[in-house]
């Protein structure tokens, strides 16, 4: 290669990176000053009346009264409106499913033998999914993306995403490991909870042995473990307490068993589903174990959840349990975590606690940095609501993710607009 070519290549490279960096600046450089909002901070300072929030370079730069921004700041008057951190749903399959009954669009579960704990769904997350804008315009700005259960009691590891329509939405992968215990977990283990318990205990034991004797089991060696080497390797960060083990469990006695198992293996666990958690709320609080619940889910769906009740969140809170919320129905309506939270409030949970359970608590449990509060230095995931954020008649007015003002448009709003005026609908199928 001659010098000329080398220099040319260098110039192209430099120009490209310059353009890219300029583009990047253009994307995040715009500042927004939101004035006079009722700010629900989800932090120790609680709710601030008539307060301004300055968003700059993707972050919350200032929080206070009578703020002013630089000359190119876009000012948004939010008088009479409410402002919260963007919400997060702790149990979704966002980006892993487009149409549940169209198998070619579903990537959340594998039936592959020997792939359980080692299943990492991150590469399959589709940021151009229509579910992302539909949830985004309804106030959900982040999601925990969780694998489904295939042939193993371990589903695999989850990811955290921001609800952006490109891969900048990827935040972190391998943030937690998921396991199924109890009514369905038993199905993978000879039809008995006791067998499921044994399998989980053995898996953790084997993983721990492997962790300390890894060299003996290089590829080519025959393993005599309860799970594949890859699955046991995947449990290493759980045993090192780097990520939590999320246990899907409902029955109160099973919950106690799981707390004991966590103690035995010295791992961090989180209870998910946990219909009967309120029954043993003091034990859960003592063990410092967070729970992921859908507060609206009060049906005795199974014999493992006979004690389900609508005010469980309030009972858990009073016992000092850290709560993280998910919502009813499917990932498609992941934003309904807000309605579930509203019902928890309606049944006794303080509104600020409900907000934390779909913002900062989730961030803490899943190790997501710089998100979950309206606080200087946090990434600016912000929602302006046209009313009480817990109320079902309230809608999102404007959504920001990482400081970017989001278009309040989804495929659904496009369809709505196309058919809004049926008299003016002639040949609409052929125009935008």
């Amino acid at each position: 290669m001659n010098n000329y070519k080398l220099i040319h290549k260098l110039i192209v490279k430099l120009t490209t990176s310059l353009i890219l960096s300029l583009l990047a600046i253009n994307v995040i450089a715009k500042d927004y000053l939101i004035k006079n909002a009722t700010v629900h901070t989800a932090s120790e300072v609680g709710v601030l009346n008539s307060t301004d929030v300055l968003i700059s370079d993707g972050f919350i730069m200032e929080l206070g009264k009578n703020l002013s921004g630089n000359s190119n700041v876009e000012v948004i008057d939010a008088k009479g409106q409410h402002l919260t951190p963007g919400l997060i749903n702790a149990n979704t399959q966002m980006g892993l499913v487009e149409i549940s009954a169209a198998s070619s669009t579903v990537d959340h579960t594998t039936e592959q033998e020997g792939v359980g704990a080692s299943f990492n769904i991150a590469p399959a997350i589709n940021f151009r999914s229509t579910l992302i804008p539909q949830n985004r315009i309804n106030g959900l700005t982040r999601a925990i993306v969780v694998p489904g259960f295939g042939n193993s009691i371990f589903a695999g590891s989850s990811s955290a995403i921001a609800l952006l329509s490109d891969m900048t939405g990827m935040i972190s992968e391998n943030i937690a490991q998921h396991v199924l215990y109890g009514v369905s977990g038993a199905e993978f283990n000879g039809g008995s909870r006791a067998a499921a318990h044994m399998a989980l205990d053995k898996a953790l034991e084997d993983a721990n042995y492997l962790r300390h004797n890894r060299r003996r089991f290089e590829p080519g060696f025959e393993s005599h473990f309860s799970l594949s080497i890859a699955d046991l390797d995947a449990l290493k960060p759980v045993l090192e307490r780097k990520i939590p083990l999320i246990i899907n469990v409902h029955r109160s006695d099973s919950i106690i068993r799981m707390i004991a198992l966590a103690k035995k293996h010295n791992i961090k666990i989180v209870l998910q589903g946990a219909s009967e958690a309120w029954v043993v709320s003091n034990e859960i609080a003592r063990a410092n174990v967070p729970v992921i619940i859908d507060p609206i889910s009060n049906l005795p769906n199974s014999f493992s959840s006979l004690s389900s009740r609508i005010d469980a969140a309030s009972i858990l809170h009073n016992a000092g349990v850290k709560m993280v919320f998910t919502g009813m129905q499917s990932t498609h309506n992941g934003y309904l975590v807000r309605q579930s939270a509203g019902n928890a409030v309606s049944h006794g949970l303080p509104a600020e606690e409900a907000l934390k359970a779909m913002t900062i608590n989730t961030a803490e449990v899943f190790g997501i940095k710089n998100y979950g509060q309206i606080k200087v230095g946090m990434e600016a995931d912000v929602v302006i609501w046209d009313g009480d954020p817990m109320e079902v008649t309230t809608n999102a007015e404007q959504v920001f993710i990482k400081g970017q003002k989001q278009p309040m448009v989804s495929r659904a709003t496009r369809l709505r607009d196309r058919f809004w005026d049926l008299n003016d609908n002639k040949n609409k199928a052929y125009v935008k």
Partner: protein
Amino acid sequence: MHRGVLPLPLKKHLRFFFLLFLMTSLIACQSDDASKADQQKQSQAFPSTYISAPSKAFVIEHATVLTGTGIEYRDASVLVENGLIKAVGNNFFIPADVERIDGSGKWVTPGIIDVHSHMGVYSSPGIESTQDGNEMTAPVTAEVWAEHSVWTQDPAMPLALAGGVTTFQVLPGSGNLIGGRGVTLKNVNAKNVQAMKFPDAPHSLKMACGENPKRVYGNKGRAPSTRMGNVAGYRMAWIKAEEYLAKWDKYTESLGSKKELDKPARDLQLDTLAEVLRGNILVHNHCYRAEEMMVMIDIAKEFGYKISAFHHAIEAYKIADVLAKENICSAVWADWWGFKHEAFDHVRENAAMVHNAKACAIIHSDSAIGIQHLNQETAKAMAAGNKNGLSIEVKDAIAWITSNAAKAIGVGDKTGSLKENMMADIVIWSHNPLSVYAKAEKVFIDGVLTYDRYDSEFQPVSDFDLGIIDPEGVRL
């Protein structure tokens, strides 16, 4: 909860004697009415034995009253006597001896109605034996009746009552083209389904479009496996029903004449379909897509029946003008979408857009969780429309789960609105019902206090709930 037995309200006595008279006179009648007697025999099968408990006269005062018919009264009263609504409004005479309930700060609505429930046929807890809602052994099973699957002790029923639900229609599932008869029940604790059956409510016929039947039967390697196969399936069924109906009509005509025909053999499946063609059974059609709804409307015209409501009508907003013209209700969800391809074109404004086109909008649940919060689902659907520029008021939107729902299941002249002589199915709410903070505080069915949030004596407990966790307690 029924306590003690006291004389029935006069009206109910009369109805009972009238039916008795009808039955005996039909039996006595030999010729012209013989066929009618056969029809009567069908409709008298498994008759409702629901009898409301005796109720004292009472008045709810100083409440905000939503009648379900588009009227909102402030600081108003609702007077109930003999299980019926006697007066509603601001200005009427209240007898001195009636019990007075202070409704200050409260809101009053008709009892909430769910037109799409599977309580009792897909009961909680969901186990092998509770899968009773879908006879997926043939694509047309018009012969099955949902009421014969109903487990009256489904613990979801009292939960729905706490959400203000006084009436619900139990439908068979959607795995079949024609899934069978649905039944309308009063949300009362009873030992048998007959004692829950809404008096004189028509049966319904559950039909299903689209993906479910074609998937279920396509996977079995038989018809239908396509949407066009679905349509052929409906039409073949209706052709048989027409023939059956004609056979019976001819037989009826021949009675008393010189050439009296032999009585046709009874066919349980065609009995149901013929009753639809006679206009005695209302069609409730699970149908998502605009295309399929339009095809179903044409099938109804071809065979001369009427579709009462499209259920899960995800794309109703696309054809709301047609649905208004055809007088077909759209029973929809506020948010559900995307679980199937046919549920992909959901808009949150669906109910509001249907309403705005002056068509009949209904919010339904299809869920034992959703049924507990139909007020919230309605609130979301209303707010979504208003956010985009409509101005639907609470007094109008409440019709989506009261009067419109009642109309669709053929009981609009009995319940679903607070008007004189309607059944006193009433909810007293703590707040504006279209709010997450609203709780049903008192629920009356036929004037009987059936649920009271603050009095455990009036919180029904199903047999299942009894001693299920704590031998000495109840589930909740």
